[in-house]
Amino acid sequence: MIWETYLLAQRAIRRNALRSTLTVLGIVIGVAAVITMVTLGSGATAQVTSDIAKLGSNMLQVRVGQGFHRGGGARGAATPFRMADVQAIEQQIHGLQGVAPVSSSGMQAIYGNANWSTTITGSNADFLVVRDWPMARGRIFTESEMRAGQAVCVLGATVQRRLFGDEDPLGATIRLGKIAFRVIGVLGAKGQSSFGTDQDDFVLIPLRTLQRRVAGNTNVGSIMVSAMDGVPTEAVQTDIERLLRERRNIAAAQEDDFHVRDMKEIIDTLTGTTRVLTALLGAVAAVSLLVGGIGIMNIMLVSVTERTREIGTRLAIGALERQVLLQFLVEAVVLACFGGVIGIALGLGAAALAAHLLAIPFIFNPGIVSAAFLFSALVGVVFGYFPARQAARLDPIEALRYE
């Protein structure tokens, strides 16, 4: 009987092909919007996740202040890290691949006539280990250069291109602010990060040099640490937390005034934004589905009026009230599902195209596709019910006499 009813509904819909198509346009647009948004959203999330994984999934970042989940409150007030903290971590925490203190400062880089505003990062040789960053040419600073705080630098690929173009930078002298630095190496190019910043736009110098000649203090902005393969980052994280609490004399009841983030946390924060955006757009799409549902209800009411005599005939011939109800309900549902299927196809197509243009991965999400389909069916049931009941409750005699 359901199959019969389905065939019947299909025929009724095909009898008014144009009108049916226009009717489901609302649903088509709604579903297509949902599918596109969610597919692109998960593509973007995957992109961010894989970009960050490329930073090194075994990487941890230690910062002063509280985690940015908690608003980052007292960051300025807390004591900054010193080199002694870095050494303590190096010596007392086991299973580490590298420990890189990092401080940064914005500055003008000048070579001859070329002039480029960039970031100077003070760190040590472990920076390359922790960030898994290859050298393109030259070398990284030596132990003695670091200890002495010499004016040597390694250029990020972008800075090298901006200042030197095709010229060989090795051995050249550039100026960072007022200080002259000798170029000893060039880093490999990493390209854009997923947040659209150029990762290669910086100059790496020994931390000591930055502290003495640029910042004029002995602060360490943050400490990047990478665990050896097979060492769980959670364990490293708790070890570092314990060590730093001790060194910073934090009482048992007090909260940390520093924060150790692993990559998962960073990923969560960044994808959180994407997720909120997706949810927002999803809500807009849901509204358009609602509008689509009202369109279906409207056209079903028109259909019931138009087909009053047909309904009368069916009732007279022996159709039960619920069979007529079912017929019109199925018709509304088939109509809505038809719109849903078109919307899904359209949405996936649009998402594939947009993913291609935005250079993010296209991720087919069967969950959202079936959810969209079920939701459009639900729209059909909800908005088809009232007209269907209207049809089922017709008086057969009145319906037969209807002109």
Partner: protein
């Protein structure tokens, strides 16, 4: 054969107060199984109203209607629908075929509600169309058929379920004499061969002459209930069709 239909003091009132119309006024009528009854009367005399009640589409305002001994007035809407589905066949005053739907699908309609599988349904519908002389017209829609052909499709739809009773409201109303004769001999054949009980409304004495019994309505009352073909030699004047 036994009594199939029994109306006792059946009244049907439309509207209320000053506007109230007694469409039927205390009707008594008994019809036996296998009878062929012609219902006649002026326009507005209550024929269709009576047919609606006999067809279990409507219930009396007062009085009782028994179909096969069952009090129809006591049945629910769905129970009456089931009764129509299994025992009655209708030929409506204006065909009431489904538009843009082929002849065979129109004829199949009552079989669908009887839950008959598609294969057998097709066969039975084709047989019914053949019985009314419409073999080869199965795929034509009502729009592509003449009035007489449409009327025959309507008859095929009414008899395809092999019902106990055929209720026909002016089955020849829109047809010329030759076509009317064809339809009438068809109905007569079903009446004689299958023992189908036929109740037929008509304005034309010629058509009523096919029936074995005639019931005349006047202003909601039955004035004669004549027996035999001879009885309707002088029928009432031909009234315009509504």
């Amino acid at each position: 054969m036994g009594t199939l239909i029994q109306l006792e003091q059946v009244t049907k009132v439309y509207g209320r107060g000053h506007a109230a119309v007694n469409a039927l006024d205390r009707i008594d009528l008994t019809i036996e199984r296998g009878e062929f009854v012609a219902v006649m009367g002026h326009s507005g005399s209550g024929k269709s109203t009576c047919m609606n009640i006999l067809g279990c589409l409507d219930t009396p305002s007062s009085g009782t209607y028994r179909f096969g001994g069952v009090d129809v007035g006591a049945l629910s809407r769905d129970q009456r629908a089931l009764l129509r589905r299994h025992y009655l066949g209708f030929v409506f005053q204006g065909f009431n075929l489904l538009n843009r739907t082929s002849a065979i699908e129109n004829v199949e309609l009552p079989l669908i509600y009887r839950g008959i599988p598609i294969r057998r349904r097709r066969e039975q519908a084709a047989a019914a169309l053949a019985a009314v002389g419409l073999s080869g017209w199965e795929q034509h829609t009502p729009g592509e058929l003449s009035g007489g052909q449409q009327q025959r499709v309507a008859i095929a739809r009414a008899i395809v379920t092999d019902p106990d009773v055929l209720l026909a409201d002016e089955p020849t109303g829109n047809l010329d004499t030759a076509r009317s004769r064809e339809i009438m001999s068809l109905i007569t054949r079903f009446n004689q061969e299958r023992g189908l009980t036929v109740i037929m409304v008509t304005h034309e004495a010629d058509m009523a002459a096919y029936a074995r019994r005639r019931v005349d309505f006047l202003d909601g009352r039955i004035v004669t209930a004549a027996e035999g073909p001879g009885a309707m030699a002088k029928g009432p004047q031909k009234a315009p069709t509504t």
